[in-house]
Symmetry: D2
Subunit: 201 residues, 4 copies
Amino acid sequence: MTVHKIAILVGSLRKDSINRKIARSIASQASERFHSEIVEIGNLPLYNEDIDAAPPAEYRAFREKISGVDGVLFCTPEYNRGLPGVLKNAIDVGSRPYGASVWDKKPAAVVSASPGAIGGFGANHQLRQLCVFLNMPMMQQPEAYLGGITGDKFDADGLLADGPLKDFVGKIAKAFADWVDVIVRARTEIAEDGAHAAKGR
Amino acid sequence: MTVHKIAILVGSLRKDSINRKIARSIASQASERFHSEIVEIGNLPLYNEDIDAAPPAEYRAFREKISGVDGVLFCTPEYNRGLPGVLKNAIDVGSRPYGASVWDKKPAAVVSASPGAIGGFGANHQLRQLCVFLNMPMMQQPEAYLGGITGDKFDADGLLADGPLKDFVGKIAKAFADWVDVIVRARTEIAEDGAHAAKGR
Amino acid sequence: MTVHKIAILVGSLRKDSINRKIARSIASQASERFHSEIVEIGNLPLYNEDIDAAPPAEYRAFREKISGVDGVLFCTPEYNRGLPGVLKNAIDVGSRPYGASVWDKKPAAVVSASPGAIGGFGANHQLRQLCVFLNMPMMQQPEAYLGGITGDKFDADGLLADGPLKDFVGKIAKAFADWVDVIVRARTEIAEDGAHAAKGR
Amino acid sequence: MTVHKIAILVGSLRKDSINRKIARSIASQASERFHSEIVEIGNLPLYNEDIDAAPPAEYRAFREKISGVDGVLFCTPEYNRGLPGVLKNAIDVGSRPYGASVWDKKPAAVVSASPGAIGGFGANHQLRQLCVFLNMPMMQQPEAYLGGITGDKFDADGLLADGPLKDFVGKIAKAFADWVDVIVRARTEIAEDGAHAAKGR
């Protein structure tokens, strides 16, 4: 079994972000299945096609990092019933210039965590809508709308404490590793991303 | 290469439905890659859990038919910026009783066709949202928002006449056949659909 | 203050539907502000433009009923992360024939209730997407994703028992009555629904 | 008739942005109905609750500007089938700190323009989803998915040249001015935004 390289993107910049902790918990439970790294997105200038004529160093570094991975895991809060702007901005940066998207054909999964009951459903599905265009095959199940996530779910190391939530997150990690295996193996059979209708802006 | 069995669901009941014609055009261009059948949905009683205690014959026949296929292709118009009720009803019927959904793990694709410019984008993505819960791995590309589809695109047999639209539909057919290959081969690795949060109604 | 006429549509046909009970609880708490009636949708034949050339009696009766009201309240479960087919079918029926939609300019609100934690968020927002095209001004707040709704929330009459949920539902009723006042008063100022891009299907 | 103050937010930072030109064209056609200003969003640091403990000057200036207007018009491209990160970031900034959102009760409309056929439908509706939570009453019609928008639609001043598109944009401007009238007049009747389920992140 191949140990794949996974980029994790966290949709919140807060130092104490629960989604960052969830991300680390998934990574720690899946270390035998994939090597993962949280790729930082807080330093990316707001996407602007004009400045991309001579791409800022942050754009180049981010694109290079994502290009090198086998799959992508998104861990995100919901802001105002949608995807945080900061995470969408990173996705926009990686998608450009047109025809050179770093997301193309990379298998992905999304986990949304929130203190509220709804568990980020709105953000989760807005992200899924993007992944259609980005040609990222998405893991469908288990869906991960993690509601009621507060600080006391975590241990002193900031990882999930033993319990049903940790077990569920372990299942997600395993399912995602399996999904990456499936898609990486099949990559040559997945259609070229050449039909994009929305070329311009 | 295996020749898979595909169910095609058409979201309009009109006899002259352009989506039915698109469906037949896809099937005719893919006959070497998959055997397909348009499964009729116009006779399914509106879903009602009460009557499902003793399922109507139409429910049983529909579920049996879908159970036997390897993948599902949806060809649908957009009604009022969403999925037609008639198609959603069929999906609801197939998804029940809880725990015995016939959609589980079946690879799928969606084509939306319309005389208008937007090509059924709203219906297309509302359907994709359902397929997450239904655990149907979705083909992402090529996206198929077929706009400006009017009667003159079709020949006397009701199939797409030669031209770029027919060629594009041929690409969809091929990409979908490849996608079904990928997922059927990998089916044992796809996570069990056991995490459904919305058990009740 | 005018007492408006409100149609309530319930998205589940189950006799014991929790959404029907929620609907009745809202109506009973708002009886001084609006007269409401649950308009049945279980007998509407699946929408088919061909049969609509000579509309079935059920279509005609339904359209007439909706035409006579000042506003519409939707109470709906979520089926498979989306709007139940049965409710979407009713909306499709009311929207046709093209140019004679009975929904036009009617103020509306949506309540989604479910035993699960997410409270029908997916169904709730799929419905809101439709209401843009249908030109129904939507109440935005309070949002009503009613999660964890089980039989024990109701009293012997099938209405909500005293408690925070009943109070919240009372707030929804009041806010909706206010919203209907606003929109009915302003109806002449709301743009004609003449810009529909998706005329055909 | 009151002349209202309107903030226009443009979802693209490109100097030659077609959405900026559309925004200016709407403003110029509505100058007798509302005074508008394009509020810049390109200088807003990516939202981070940690830095918001002592809000950056850009956050404070942006919030103050939006607080002073009667309504908001969004003109936006679609990036990757969704709202541009840069626009979402501005919305996130304005929505915080919790309980002090500057968007609350402000009437709004959205125009999405794109060179492609679909006219930004995905971005348009992702934005509408946010406005439910933000308690911004949305103009429903006319929907404005402006497709096929290329440079030659504009005159030497960068405004729409005479023709059907300019006329349609004029209708949008008028309908929006009417909508702002309706909602501003009714503001006291619109429910307090106190039911937000997703308090935390």
